[in-house]
């Protein structure tokens, strides 16, 4: 007969629970006193890796790796969105891809982020911009480089810009960013 373990193995780490004050006695008065106890807070970690699919939008990212910027166009109406969209929102029809790499582009709106989400804190300050393209009905959110984040000015709106592409693609929308034309 195998002897089964009757005691859990003690390991290093965890919390030193004997350091937390607790009444010696558990009489009614002492238990009532526990209502005044400070809360116990512990750390919990949560890490997970997702396998995210770009699905029907994948060609847009493939284009970035080849230094091209695509947009989606309704074949009938010609309504064009800078962000890829598999189906047009007005007709419901499947869109076709068009190349807007060389379309004239301007800054529509922008900001400089001096603070941000945890993932982007090391990159602060950075400039976010919405770009408008000739012949395209909607905008594109991107990073704007080549402007001074310490001296933002409303004059940046309307500035002519052009796309640049990362040499080493990360397969993210930041594979493309914009810089002033000149």
């Amino acid at each position: 007969m195998v002897k089964l373990p009757s005691q859990r193995e003690e390991t290093l780490g965890g919390y030193i629970v004997h350091g937390i004050p607790f009444p010696i006695s558990t009489d009614e008065e002492s238990l009532e006193f526990l209502k005044r106890m400070a809360p116990i807070q512990i750390e919990q970690e949560y890490k997970i890796k997702y396998l995210h699919s770009y699905g029907q939008d994948s060609p847009w990212f493939a284009a970035l790796t080849n230094k091209r910027l695509l947009a989606s166009r309704d074949p009938e109406s010609g309504y064009t969105t800078a962000n890829p969209r598999g189906h047009d929102m007005f007709s419901g029809a499947e869109t076709k891809w068009i190349d807007i790499t060389n379309a004239p582009a301007h800054v529509h709106a922008f900001t400089v982020c001096y603070f941000g989400s945890e993932e982007f804190l090391p990159e602060c300050p950075f400039v976010l911009a919405l770009i408008e393209f000739e012949g395209v009905n909607t905008l594109l959110l991107t990073r704007l480089m080549g402007v001074d984040p310490a001296a933002p000015a409303l004059d940046w709106i309307g500035m002519e810009v052009r796309p640049r592409f990362l040499r080493n693609s990360k397969l993210k929308p930041t594979d493309v960013y914009f810089v002033p034309s000149e």
């Binding site: 995210h52 770009y54 400089v112 982020c113 989400s117 945890e118 976010l128 009905n137 409303l154």
Partner: protein, 454 residues
Amino acid sequence: MRPVYAISGGVSKFAKARPDKTFQAIIKEAYDYAIDDIGLDFPTFTRIVNGSVASYFSDHFTRQLMAGIMAQDYLGLCPKPGHRVEGGGATGGLCFQEAWKSVASGHMDVCVAYGFETMSHVETWKGNEFIALASDISFDYPVGGFYSGYYAMMVTRHMKEFGTTVEQMAHVSVKNHINAYHNPYSQKRNRYTIADVRNAPMVAWPLTRLDICVMSDGAAATILVSEEGLKKLEAAGAKIPRPLVKVTGIGRGTDMMRMADRPHVDYDNFMENYATEQEKSSDDTKVYYKKLWDHGTRYPGVHSFRAGRSAGNMAWKHAGINDPLHELDFIELHDAYTSSEIQTYEDLGLCRYGEGGPFAESGKTFLPNIDYGLKLKDKPVCAVNPSGGLIACGHPVGATGLMQGVFAIWQIQGTIKKHFNDDQLQVKNAKRGAIHSHAGTGTYVSVSVLEREG
């Protein structure tokens, strides 16, 4: 649909962190207050209430799925019906409307809407990340996901197109912070000046830390009833103040997740599908808008909230309101940013599109009996955020829209002094008010109208 009355509410103290209690116990603070305020004890109310709607935004903050049922359990509401509502920043407002639906449809006679958020469980920058996950994770979040950044982009465009200034935005911050000075439930109770707002640390140009609401822990609850529900509660000993507060208008709207994708509609489309009734009936306004469009302005662009306009128009129509500025005594408006309060003035029809900046500093949305230390051109007309709004009260997301509902009930009941121990924020003879709840970059928006019966 049956008439629906909002008879009571409760709010926990909003705070940066509430480690002293779990989220269920924080909700119970608000819930117990709402029950106690109508003079009932817990078991009696539990016996009569038909069910609930739970409101909380993010499972990430609690690291707990199905938190709603844990609250339902703690409040002793099992096995009665209940469900969770989620719609970003508008979660609380949507929850209020779901409770309204439950009662108006005849499904329930007494429905409690409760909500919470405990945002202190993570660092602020991680909280920003969770919130930014409410933007498209393929195209928007990876570029630098940060909601303050998104709103800052909207307002730079608003400034460029309409000449809106940072000082006009700061008027909103001063107003809401000073109002909250008299609100004991508020997280921030400070008197600021325009200079304080502009000299605060820059977060996302041109928005400073005092242009932006804070993350909070907190909860709120409201009780909605039908006429039958009212009779049942009163038969059990409830003391419900007269005149009653009736929910008379419900409106909702939506817009695209990626604000870059929003259409830029032409003048005719705007006038036909988006203009308020008041705008449609004013030749002067039509001429003003035609000029805007001739200069290249389009709607909604990234500087306006089409969902807010849709929600407002729907709620005003339902409540029979033609001129919200003059027919409402107050609005609790979702001011996550000073800039978004200005944008929303325009979309709720308080002023014309593009005129939100001058309107913000006019004085029309201030309270008459409070010294703001500002020179205001006009007399108060319709108080916006008499409670202090999100900027000062805090924004525990799932609780926020319900907090607005509670403050609206108290304003219309005329019981602000009883609940705040201070009547500075009581809007005199408040008969009708609106609560406005807003998500994302304007993706879900709800507007509800509450008014004194009779």
